[in-house]
Amino acid sequence: MADLTSNFIGIKSPNPFWLASAPPTDKEYNVRRAFEAGWGGVVWKTLGSEGPPIVNVNGPRYGVVHGADRRVLGLNNIELITDRDLFKNLDEIKRVKKDYPDRAIIVSIMVPCEEDAWKTILPLVEETGADGIELNFGCPHGMAERGMGSAVGQVPEYVEMVTGWCKKYYSKPVIVKLTPNISDIRKPAAAAQAGGADAVSLINTISSIISVDLDVMAPNPTIDGKGTHGGYCGPAVKPIAMNMVAEIARNPETANLPISGIGGITSWRDAAEYMVLGCGNVQVCTAAMTYGFKIVQEMISGLSQWMDEKGYESTEEFVRQAVPNVTDWQYLNLNYVSKASINQDDYISCGRCYAACEDTSHQAISMTSDRKFSVIDAECVACNLCVEVCPVENCITMVQQEPGVIDPRTNKVVEEKHGDWTSHPNNPSVFAAE
């Protein structure tokens, strides 16, 4: 039986599944339910400075991109940080941590970009006994207009500066949560590291307009006829987030910086993918908001089964395992040749492969009058589109062409040795270097 216990920057939890800082972790009642359901940790919803509480809109806060059967594919929100009193939150954090000493509790914080503001709140947080803090440099809506959230995360110098203050006034681990609303994610990650961060977490939400109400001519969710951009999350953002995670993990400068992965994690498999790309643990929000806290049970059992099947005894064994295989396009082997192959036993004659290839690709699939489809090797560039649009899994596969055979498309022999763009004769810089 695999051991799921997690030790992320010294913070221990019974499993690597934490709830992200978001509505599900806004108060004691929810967090207790989460722990009872089995979550390894929570990042408590972002606290702001002492004073009059934050106000939220009184109209709708969320919007969703639905798939079939109203499956939630993407979620957009315009909710701000906690709108509850600072001291009420702090009391609750203290109580819950005391009752659940084996679970991780991280406190998310967002206060103005002034040293005094951080200096004031950090001792209060330290006093709760929470295991660490996460700096909310990510929220793209509302608070960013006030110079906080993503407004800080978009300026690497500010990230480094504020991280430095936190390390100065707080003794436990500091995680910096990054905004994806930036052109090069490696920069704020490096800045966080330079400021002394123990880890980064990413991604926060992506600036988004989820949909437009064509009757009132305004973005959804619409508040009295107007809408504003929100933060996008859920399964739809996972590919974007994983690329950002991998960019940081494979950047030599930040290769040793621990990462907590966030963005559309809905199943154990999503979690495993993030972890092999460099994350020590993962954080979840939209899946819990869609299905409730119970989903963690599937994540736990699924990851455990997969680890058993693969022979991993602890999560550390597979973290970062895929990082060496994430590379730049220029290093991909151009001598690797494959061809699509249609399994004539599996196919159902829908013809989607044909339509896709004939209309939008390389005219490499033939169709007979009795709806038999086959690949024309002399035209197939192995683009994979037919594989992906085929409704039957594994009906169409990509078959590697053995070295030594002739590729009927190019009439060239498939070479065994690696050959990439850096040495390709069509690459002008190959000659420039000579």
Binding site: I348, C350, R352, Y354, M367, R371
Partner: protein, 444 residues
């Protein structure tokens, strides 16, 4: 309650009204909005889709389903109706399990086709509920066309001709239009007077007049019509009923299944429809199944459907056969009627077992008898009121690929013409295509 399922003879009110109403509810409940979205998402939008090829009216099924999925059901309905103006009825009565849904690639791969019939009904019902008629009458051509029969073929022909600007008069022998949609199919396939609603909706295009109570041969004659109109389309169906060709056929309570269904469809209340305690239906088509199932639903205690060939030869689909058995109908295959005899106030039907030897049906010599209060014959219909000039082949009016008969200004389609296979959808296709050809001839 006056009677029960076990009451002797042929009586009404074997079941109470609640049960009767429940029994005759919609066979397939309409899809809700959400169900339609889920069902439509299952369509793969196949290239050159097999379902479309399987549809006699060639409805662009992937397109109409995608239009449902994207929230434009009016456009979806127009896609359907532009190919099949009776798309609403066909969505209810088509044996989709042997047409589009049988060809669906998901039937091939999973045994669960996209629910094309129910989706079609969703789209067309939505449009008709809004009382939208998405077609308009073409500019007047000055040509007059007569249509004989207000059934599916005649109506489809008339509607298409109206869109092309012609003036149409339909002569209908009965006092109501709709043909078999109104008189000939099981009530649970067309609830809430749908056939008449669809007829009214179809006529709203304008330019179509119906003269009821005008049967060809009796009230009107073809020669007169030919001289009064620029073209004529015959879609009069098959009004004769084939005989059993066995002794006792003329005994009291040996009835035509077609009349039984027609009476049931036209009844003011199901509680007034009479049915025997022991009903024997003879035949193997949809009419036989519709008669047998409805007898059972009316409260008959024992309903036997006897067919002279095997299960696989039955023209009613496997789905229809299973529907019958699920309602409690007993199906006896490979038995042919020998004679009907009186037994007190009841009847006895004697059958001989059959077997197929090299596709020749032979009697085995073994016999059995079934007691019956009511025998319903459903062994096919035939053309009556034949005209001397029209060429008839195998009991049906001969037509070419355009639906044109041997008389150049007369076209025919639906069950009365060759090529019709007793389906509403085929009749619609023939009526529609004949209209296109009529137009091309008239506008030369």
């Amino acid at each position: 309650m006056a009677h029960s399922t076990s009451s002797l003879g042929i009586v009404s009110g074997r079941l109470n009204d609640d049960l009767l109403n429940k029994n005759f509810e919609d066979l397939h409940a309409p899809l809700s909005n959400h169900e339609a979205l889920v069902a439509s998402d299952r369509c793969y939008f196949c290239h050159d889709a097999p379902c479309m090829t399987a549809c006699p009216t060639s409805i662009d099924i992937p397109l109409f389903i995608r239009q449902i999925a994207t929230g434009t059901t009016d456009a979806s309905a127009k896609t359907i109706l532009s190919q099949n103006i009776l798309g609403g009825m066909c969505a209810r009565v088509c044996p989709t399990e042997t047409l589009c849904e049988e060809a669906c690639v998901r039937e091939v791969s999973e045994g669960k086709p996209v629910e094309i019939g129910r989706l079609q009904r969703f789209a067309t019902d939505n449009l008709m509920a809004k009382n939208i008629h998405p077609f308009s009458r073409g500019s007047k051509s000055g040509k007059k066309v007569a249509v004989i029969g207000a059934g599916p073929a005649g109506l489809a022909c008339a509607h298409k001709l109206a869109t092309l600007g012609h003036e149409i008069t339909i002569y209908e022998a009965r006092e109501k239009g709709g043909g078999l949609n109104e008189f000939g199919i099981a009530a649970y396939k067309s609830i809430d007077n749908f056939a008449q609603k669809e007829l009214d909706w179809l006529l709203s295009i304008g330019g179509i007049k119906i003269e009821y109570g005008k049967g060809i041969g009796s009230d009107i004659n073809l020669d007169q019509i030919q001289s009064d109109y620029d073209a004529t389309f015959i879609g009069m169906g098959l009004s004769g009923v084939n005989s059993l060709r066995c002794d006792g056929e003329n005994l009291h309570n040996v009835d035509d299944a077609v009349s039984f269904i027609s009476d049931l469809r036209q009844a003011d209340s199901l509680s007034n429809v009479k049915v025997g305690r022991d009903v024997v239906v003879i035949g193997g088509g949809m009419t036989a199944v519709d008669a047998a199932v409805q007898s059972k639903l009316l409260g008959a205690q024992n309903v036997s459907l006897v067919y002279r060939r095997g299960k696989e030869d039955m023209s009613a689909s496997v789905y229809e056969q299973e529907l019958a058995t699920s309602k409690g109908v007993r199906i006896i295959y490979n038995a042919t009627p020998l004679e009907v005899t009186e037994n007190g106030s009841s009847l006895d039907v004697k059958f001989g077992y059959t077997e197929s030897i090299k596709s020749q049906l032979k009697q085995t010599g073994e016999t059995f008898s079934l007691p019956a209060n009511q025998v319903l014959k459903a062994i096919g219909q035939n053309l009556s009121n034949q005209s001397d000039e029209l060429k008839i082949i195998d009991g049906k009016i001969n037509v070419n690929e355009h639906g044109q008969t041997n008389i150049s200004n007369i076209w025919a389609g639906g069950d009365c013409a060759i090529g019709g296979d007793d389906l509403t959808v085929t009749a619609v296709a023939q009526g529609r295509d004949a209209a296109v050809h009529i137009n091309s001839q008239l506008m030369k």
